[in-house]
Amino acid sequence: MTAASVAAGTVRGTLRATRRDYAGLVFAGLLLLSLLFTLAVLGILISDQLARGLPVFAERGTDVLTSSLSSRPSQAGLAQGIIGTALLAVMVSLLAFPLGILTAIYLEEYAPANRFTRFFDINIRNLAGVPSVVYGLLGLAVFVGFFRGLDVGNGRNVLTGGLTLAVLILPLVIITAAEAIRAVPNAIREAGFGLGASRWQVVRKLIIPAAAPGILTGTVLALSRALGETAPIILVGGILGSFSGSGSFVDLTTGPYTVLPLITFDWARKPQEEFRALTSAAIIVLLAVTLLANTFAIYLRNRYDRKW
């Protein structure tokens, strides 16, 4: 054995910990446990709903999806909620997405760095933290009052619901879109300006295409959040209990309406045991809608995630 290898062995020996690091192991175990707790909750929640709700689908098939609301659990179905949720999705997309994206473009690309811009920014961040039930109060005071003033029914219709939800997710859309735009490197802007492009040309031809995946992810997540919201819809007067509508377009937009989460809430508080299973069936449909949208958004982000 040469002197060098002896020395190497000694050094290696001192570097290797002699005691087992029990505190470290326990700590790592606790961390893993907290993560497993979260995963377990998610697993139990979903499997519990499936176990309760799937028998309803097995028994009644698609009838659950196509029947109207009813006080008799054997006939009650989700059709009106599916229509209401779809209408709200269209309204929210048409209102909140363009407005939110344009505002984000202004804040990131146009706004001068002054007091007003800083105020806009702080204001939007705070709006994003306002509880959703408060947006319901805003909708009740402003939108419902406005439509009642116009004599459009009693003001409690899909239009007021859609406006309320659009206002609710607007700050979310702005923040995520602004983040996506900010992630586009300055070199791209400078290249555009260097070729003589105007600001709008740079935004339209360079920034928006580069930020599109990020913006799309944010908007889909915001939409999914809007479709799962219950409290604001309760406040702006979505119908709890059953109702009948003629199905005409005017009636759909200005008559009584409900959405999937609202039906879930209504059925969940009914005392009859049969409605428990129905509630889970409604939850399965609701989760299918919101989680599909979420998964799609996360997939988009991971697929197009670009490091500049």
């Binding site: 790592a28 933290g129 039930v133 408060v134 009740l140 607007l170 219950t230 406040l235």
Partner: protein, 310 residues
């Protein structure tokens, strides 16, 4: 280019008048969106303020400190709903803080990149579950299986179960905000710590966590604010839809700020127009708005501090 021979003036660089007009119009259109967001804030504050003031004018101050929250009987006890909110929020944070923080440390300091790539989306899925679903879960699974399993004298719906439900909803927020803060800690600090022979637990707790503390505090404050404003979980799981006496018992039903609003609105066929019961809705909304606004402002200030440090 003949223009090169002439001295450079500003006007050719600014483009044609038509082009400048277009640019100006676009700038104005885009600015409108920002102004609208300010109008929304003003709208929220005004609509809450007017109706809340009208409510306060209608009632006597002693009604705000009645024995309980029974809006239809003219009892608008503020301490009752605040106590309920405090219990639910306390339970929620007792769950969300350790679990969310533990998950964040694991993801930021322990997990391999591949594990991270799988676990993070799962946390995001949890964040995407509608609160009404968690409310039903708290009522039909957590309360009978966990709460009544641990405490045999627990009622059919309890503030404790509602708090656990709200806590579950808050975990993703705590985890993602504090993980962002920990990942923003420069790698050089970790390497310096390991270079001095520190173990992973020491590096995580004594180097990374203190460096990221602003972000962690922000995560906890923002999650608290979210927990206070959470409505559907408590509306379903905390019971007491008609009203409740003042209570500090987490093992029984109770009334919470947000749930009181939901149940008032859910029965709004009876209470509508300018009755005190209807307008108490806006009073509660104002209280809720002020509390969450203060928490959000403080939380945001902490978030900005992390951004500035490194």
């Amino acid at each position: 280019m003949t223009a090169a021979a002439r001295p450079v003036r500003r006007s050719p660089l600014e483009g044609s008048p038509a082009r400048r007009r277009t640019e100006g119009t676009i700038r104005t259109v885009l600015l409108a969106g920002s102004i609208l967001t300010v109008l929304i804030s003003v709208g929220i504050v005004l609509s809450l303020l007017f109706q809340a003031l009208s409510f306060l004018r209608q009632i006597e101050l002693s009604q705000l400190f009645a024995q309980g929250w029974f809006p239809r009987r003219g009892q608008f006890s503020l301490p009752t709903v605040l106590a309920g909110t405090l219990i639910v929020t306390g339970v929620a944070m007792a769950i969300a803080a350790p679990v969310g923080l533990g998950s964040a440390i694991y993801l930021s300091e322990y997990a391999r990149p591949r594990a991270r790539k799988i676990i993070k989306p799962i946390l995001e899925v949890l964040a995407g579950i509608p609160s009404v679903v968690v409310g039903f879960f708290a009522l039909t699974w957590i309360n009978p299986n966990i709460v009544q399993g641990l405490f045999s004298d627990a009622k059919g719906s309890t503030l404790l179960a509602a708090g656990i439900g709200v806590g579950i909803l808050s975990i993703p927020l705590v985890a993602s905000v504090s993980e962002d803060a920990m990942r923003a800690v420069p790698q050089a600090m970790r390497e310096a710590s390991y270079g001095l022979g520190a173990r992973r637990i020491t590096t995580s707790l004594r180097v990374v966590l203190p460096a990221a503390i602003s972000g962690v505090v922000a995560a906890l404050i923002l999650a608290t604010s979210r927990a206070i404003g959470e409505t559907m979980v408590v509306a379903l799981a905390a019971g007491a839809s008609g009203g409740s006496l003042f209570t500090l018992d987490p093992l029984g039903p109770g009334q919470v700020l947000t749930a009181a609003m939901a149940s008032l609105a859910a029965g709004s066929d009876q209470v509508t127009g300018n009755t005190a019961a209807f307008q108490s809705l806006f009073f509660l909304g104002l209280v809720l708005f002020v509390i969450t606004l203060l928490l959000n402002l403080v939380g945001d200030a902490f978030v900005r501090r992390t951004r500035q440090r490194y």
